[in-house]
């Protein structure tokens, strides 16, 4: 673990403070963009002549689906960085992203069902997109369950990173196979994107909403990574200093400086 200070930028101590400064901005951006997106989805976008008002669900469904996939990619990216450069912060970011990604996957499934009932007449249709999204949900759950089952943080970090990478290699194969399966069985071929002719205002609404979800996801992940840093580094001196208290002169307390790596906590 020598040479960790080369990656000063990725030191949890520095990042903890930086993230704390950034979080309010991301929440503010999410709120503003969310308000603008909701305004577009309910007031600017006209009623669809085929689906009526039910189609407004896609303003939350499509951005949630986009972001659920994007977050999985980001998670795998952090996991790869962690495995390649052995930076603990990368692993922590991967763990911090997973619950938000799983939540958005669930949102996309839930809203997909609520959109499907009035549009297809069924709560659940084995459409290629919905099915892939369901499998993505399982991938998120597997990642979180694996990390939760391992007590040693170092092993949990690396095992989670590996399964995230294996998952990301599989996602395109899974999507392709599900699509193939869906077309062969002539299942629901109506997809969200082909249903109404995509008006510019709709696309704009979905993009603004997607940005809002993106900002929210960053804010939530940063908040979570700060919790993870505190939980894991509670024995290090910088945490004690930051909280404005002199550390207890306990023989077990490690005496590293700011940003050093404390293994095996």
């Amino acid at each position: 673990m020598s040479g960790f200070n080369l990656y000063k930028y990725s030191s949890p101590a520095t990042f903890y403070v930086l993230a704390g400064r950034l979080i309010p901005w991301f929440y503010a951006a999410a709120a503003l963009l969310g308000a603008a997106g909701l305004y577009v989805s309910f007031f600017l976008a006209p009623t669809d002549f085929q689906q009526g008002e039910a189609y407004r669900i896609i303003f939350i469904h499509v951005p949630a689906a986009w972001m659920s996939m994007f977050i999985y990619l980001a998670m795998a990216g952090w996991a790869a960085l962690g495995l390649a450069f052995n930076t603990r912060l990368s692993f922590m970011m991967a763990s911090a992203l997973a619950p938000t990604g799983a939540m958005l996957t669930f949102v996309s499934l839930w809203t997909g069902a609520l959109w499907g009932k009035p549009t297809w007449g069924a709560w659940w249709v084995w459409d290629a997109r919905l099915t892939s999204e369901l499998i993505l949900f399982f991938l998120y759950l597997g990642f979180m369950a694996l990390q939760a089952a391992i007590d040693d943080p170092r092993r949990a970090d690396r095992a989670g990173a590996l399964i995230a990478l294996v998952g990301v290699v599989n996602v395109p194969i899974i999507y392709f196979s599900v699509k193939w399966w869906n077309t062969l069985h002539q299942g629901a071929s109506v997809s969200l994107n082909t249903a109404p002719s995509m008006a510019a205002v709709m696309l704009a609404g979905m993009l603004v909403m997607a940005l809002a979800v993106w900002m929210y996801a960053i804010a939530a992940a940063l908040s979570r990574v700060r919790c993870i840093i505190l939980e894991r580094e509670r024995n290090s001196q910088w945490v004690a200093q930051m909280l404005g208290a002199e550390p207890h002169p306990h023989p077990n307390l490690p005496l590293e400086g700011e940003g050093t790596n404390v293994e095996g906590i």
Binding site: F138, G142, A145, A149, R158, G167, V169
Partner: protein, 221 residues
């Protein structure tokens, strides 16, 4: 090459000593597939349509059931740590171990599959496609499953966890495997499915041993 054949021999000898485990997974396969007609009713037409999918899902679950013993015994007695230290590349002996595991747990499933297929009224040609699809698919299941087995080594609740990790990754194999049989039944042909299954097998064979090696290092150190 000598080391590999020695390893294979060792794995097979060990597996033969623990015949009971492989037999349990095989009976599980038979029982799961036999439960379906009891659940959905004896309509021959429906059963014929479902047959390929049911046998494939049962094979998937049986393959998963036997993953636990892929590395567990070697982990418990410390052999695994020795193997990681050997001069042979870990990828080679990992591939050997998976091959041995497949010979013991996958091949019996392929041989048993026609018996189950007959229960669902599959014809001779359809049974042949079912066996071909399992021949191409079950090694891929062993390869992909080995990653899950390596990552959950020694964890409490490892068995349930491995299913959560591995089953979503099994989806493409299931789709193309069961799809091949469906193609034979509907007369659309099953060559495309079998080729894709072969593609998955080749990809899995090239990539998974590396992932398993990394997973074992993570789990052991």
């Amino acid at each position: 090459m000598n080391a590999i054949s020695a390893l294979l021999r060792r794995e097979l000898t060990l597996a033969m000593r623990r015949r009971g485990d492989a037999l349990t997974a095989l009976f599980f396969f038979v029982i799961v597939a036999s439960l379906f007609p009891l659940g959905v009713g004896p309509d021959p037409k429906l059963l014929h349509l479902m047959g390929g999918g049911v046998v494939w899902v049962a094979a998937l679950l049986a393959a998963m059931l036997s993953l636990g013993r892929l590395f567990a015994a070697d982990h418990a007695d410390g052999t695994l740590e020795q193997l990681i230290l050997t001069p042979t590349s870990p990828v080679v002996w990992i591939a050997g171990k998976i091959l041995a595991h497949w010979l013991v747990s996958g091949v019996p499933l392929i041989l048993m599959a026609p018996v189950l297929g007959i229960q669902f009224g599959l014809s001779g040609a359809e049974l042949a496609v079912l066996m071909w699809s399992l021949l191409l698919g079950t090694p891929a299941l062993s390869l992909i499953g080995a990653i899950g087995a390596a990552l959950t080594l020694g964890l409490r609740g490892g068995g349930v966890l491995v299913s959560l990790l591995v089953l979503p990754l099994y989806v493409p194999v299931l789709i193309f495997g069961a799809g091949a049989v469906d193609g034979a039944i509907s007369g659309l042909g099953s060559e495309a499915h079998l080729s894709l299954l072969g593609g998955i097998l080749i990809l899995a064979f090239m990539l998974t041993p590396w992932a398993v090696a990394a997973a074992l290092r993570i789990s052991i150190e």
